[in-house]
Symmetry: none
């Protein structure tokens, strides 16, 4: 089940363009081939362009879509006669004959979506950052103001988990559950020690990034602009009574 955007000059439904589509269970939005329709393209999983009638318009539409830096796969619907015209320069990811059966259409759509997913997965640096702190989950490295922190495995996992949920307080039991993974009773002081080692490696001026909430646990305090806040000690005080 995917979200398709079908661009066609034909007013009729999708069955007019690609009969096989009617036999598949996808959410299909049908729009005319107009520049105004292109803004909706990024919201879809696949853009299907009807190039049966007007090959010239189809070609310019392809180029327009590509010019906007569209990352969504683009599939062309063609007649037998239109086959000879299409070139790689159009930038389409796949082509489908209007007479294609549902199994073939389904497979082609699936393949182009998979390819798009894996390619974007490959290049993604997989990093999250908060303020001056940057965490690269793919490379298992953390940097503070660009300076790499030499963290151990557990320290990195702990910091990553906290940064992934900024501002939220976690009890020691929760952290043991989520970061350590296994059910763990007794010895919750283990978390304390790891937090302490983390703070030490963050340096004296940044150890405040990990805050302590008495009787509750720890939390990552996303760095805020310190310009207006003079008395930060009290402003953090907030509602912790429970």
């Amino acid at each position: 089940m995917a979200d398709l955007l079908l661009l066609t000059p034909v007013p009729g439904g999708s069955a007019q363009v690609l009969p096989a589509l009617g036999l598949l269970s996808h959410r299909v939005r049908v729009l005319p081939v107009e520049p105004s329709a292109l803004v909706d393209a990024p919201d879809s999983d696949i853009v299907v362009l009807d190039a049966r009638r007007d090959l010239v318009t189809a070609r310019t539409t392809c180029r327009l879509l590509r010019a906007t830096g569209l990352t969504v796969p683009l599939v062309l619907v063609l007649t037998e006669g239109g086959l000879t015209v299409v070139t790689a320069e159009w930038g389409v990811d796949d082509i489908v004959l209007e007479s294609a059966g549902p199994a073939e259409v389904e497979t082609r759509f699936r393949l182009v979506m998979e390819r798009a997913a894996t390619s974007s997965y490959d290049d993604a640096p997989q990093e999250i950052s908060s303020g001056e702190l940057t965490i690269d989950a793919g490379g298992y490295t953390a940097r503070l103001r660009g300076r790499p922190l030499d963290l151990t495995y557990k320290e990195f996992e702990l910091l990553k988990y906290l940064v992934q949920h900024p501002g939220r307080v976690f009890t020691r039991a929760q952290l043991l559950q989520e970061v350590w993974g296994y059910d763990y009773y007794g010895g919750t002081r283990t978390v304390d020690v790891h937090v302490r080692r983390l703070r030490a490696k963050l340096g004296p001026e940044h150890e405040q990034l990990i805050g302590t909430v008495r009787n509750v646990g720890y939390r990552f305090d996303p760095p805020k602009d310190r310009r207006g806040a003079v008395d930060d000690r009290d402003q953090v005080h907030e509602p912790a009574d429970a």
Copy 2:
């Protein structure tokens, strides 16, 4: 007119596999699906793999071809029933039903060749460089400061894969999957030994290029440029005491 390499388990001619091929004017070489036939693949413009009967063999053949760094387009011939099995992970460039007409086959072949031509023209230098390390994928040679490293096949493949994804950590299982290619359970220590041999050949002063991430895996650490260090204020005290 192109040079096709048709891999098929069926002894008969190409017309048995893909009838439309008989109506097109391409030079077709037919070989059985065997590892020995794969060495001929780079000489062709397209490799066409018959996946109508044996989908399992077809899958492993695809992976084998991709593992050798094949740049030639790979097209699969399928039956209707085989459509659901293929995934993007196979690494094929296009698929064709055995019942496809000559016009469609011709267009798909042409598109796939055009794409290969433009992509290899654009961004496939066959040569990867990172710092003082240069890897020539085409010639299976690696140089460090211009000095050629005498690497074995697996060592080269491992180094190439790591360098292709600089800064990223790979688990032993991932490396076995990607570099060794086949599904592999148990004996992940194999990776350790190969990394060790690689480091030994890189020399004591460069063995740091392959970093170890405890509890996770290995990573290629691109040599850092000391020149462009933005700030010198903090980086001096980087090790968090002890």
